[in-house]
């Protein structure tokens, strides 16, 4: 779960970079950046959740 969380954070960051490069208009670019950031927050939540589990319960 922790690894998935970190991969989601990286994926969100790549979405942000892609938004900068691929979208020229201000509104779609801002929405895409916000979406990328939301993916990062989801990844962060997963990592926090993985750290809540006691060590013996980790995969």
């Amino acid at each position: 779960m922790k690894l998935v969380g970190f991969l989601l954070m990286l994926a969100g960051w790549f979405l942000v970079l892609a938004a900068l490069e691929m979208l020229g208009a201000a509104t779609p670019r801002a929405l895409f950046v916000l979406a990328g950031f939301a993916v990062e927050v989801l990844g962060l939540a997963l990592v926090f959740r993985a750290n809540l589990a006691p060590p013996e319960a980790e995969p």
Partner: protein, 435 residues
Amino acid sequence: MGQPSPWVSEITTALCLVSILLVPLAVVGLAVLTNGLGKSRSAAHAMLASMCVIAVAALVYIAVGFSWEGFAGCAAHVITVGGKPWDWMARQPFFLRGLELNGSPALLSVVLQMFAVGITAMIPLNAAADRWRLGPICASTAVLAGWTYPLFAHWAWGGGWLSQLGTIYGLGSGFLDTGGASTIHVVGGLTALSMVWILGPREGKYSPEGMPVGIPGHNLVNVVFGCLLAWAGWLGLNSAGAMLFGGAPPSGLVLVEINTTLCAAASALVAVVVTRLRFGRPDASIAGNGWVGGLVASSAATAMLRPAAAILIGLIAGVLVALSVEWLELWLRVDDPGGAVSAHAVAGLWGLFAAGVFAGMGSRAAPGQWLAQLVGIATLVGFVLPLTYGLNWVLNRILPYRVESDGERQGMDLHELGAGAYPEFMIHSDDFIQR
């Protein structure tokens, strides 16, 4: 406007240098704060670790770190995507070779960051107190000062892609961070969070049911003294940063000093009020973290804020720090004895976003500034956090970070240094009993 006269330039250089020379006070302040918030049986270890961190950070940064960071306009690794240049990393020789050793802005920036990287490295130490061994502390600091810090600092301060978001993509003036809210504090705060995750909570911090047990800092006088010492350092840090990375003239430093102090004051007072409302009495350690959080939040754009905006940023930073300390400890099981994640990462991220909203007000309005700030924040959370966690996770496999269970019970002073910080006092009679 013509070129500044040599006299003005020398005055600017001297003023910048004086500001930079205040920055070690921030490092010392954080060291004293770390000492106060830790246990008495780890107090000497905390101070020695702080000294080692400052030493390793300065040596590694000068030896290799600055080579990756560079300065605006220096040789760099640039990738061209869609016809647009993405400046990823500087390409400078090691040991400052190729840099003229005079009073140039590039060299002043080196001096500032030689101290600043010490602040960054002190932040994880604050969070991982009472359980992190000295050898791994030095190794982790070397990685932070030699790679993680310079990489992000290049993007934000060294002419990298974040600083060019304005010119390339039309996002305001590019990513704005004149005093190091991102490069110094959020990078340090996210590394602190990684360290807490890797090390796990201190023994006895959580009951089997998962409820946290209060382990108070051993010296609250040191905590508050450290915060006040850090204030003097921050005035220098924000002033020098505003001149070197924000292009502020010497006359602009008056506003820097006002805003830095207002932001810290508002943040500390609101932390006092929040803890009074939550616990019935003000909490000195959280109020101290509120003060530091206000200083951190002020760092993003202190030269470009109106005083009222600085107060508002401080008020919100104080609420965020006070609530996030409790939230992280109670709900997310983050055992951060120094409150470093809240005071540096949470307050720093807020300060960066607020800079995009408030620094663009009035005549300085720059469309898209908030989006540039959000891209910077997304880079910190989406790239720097996985990077710093991954590097420390690997290092922990090679050189185990956490002290043995017996050592933790005995205290880091006796276990690692062979002598306690306060040999004439026996404060915890049960500390050395094998359980």
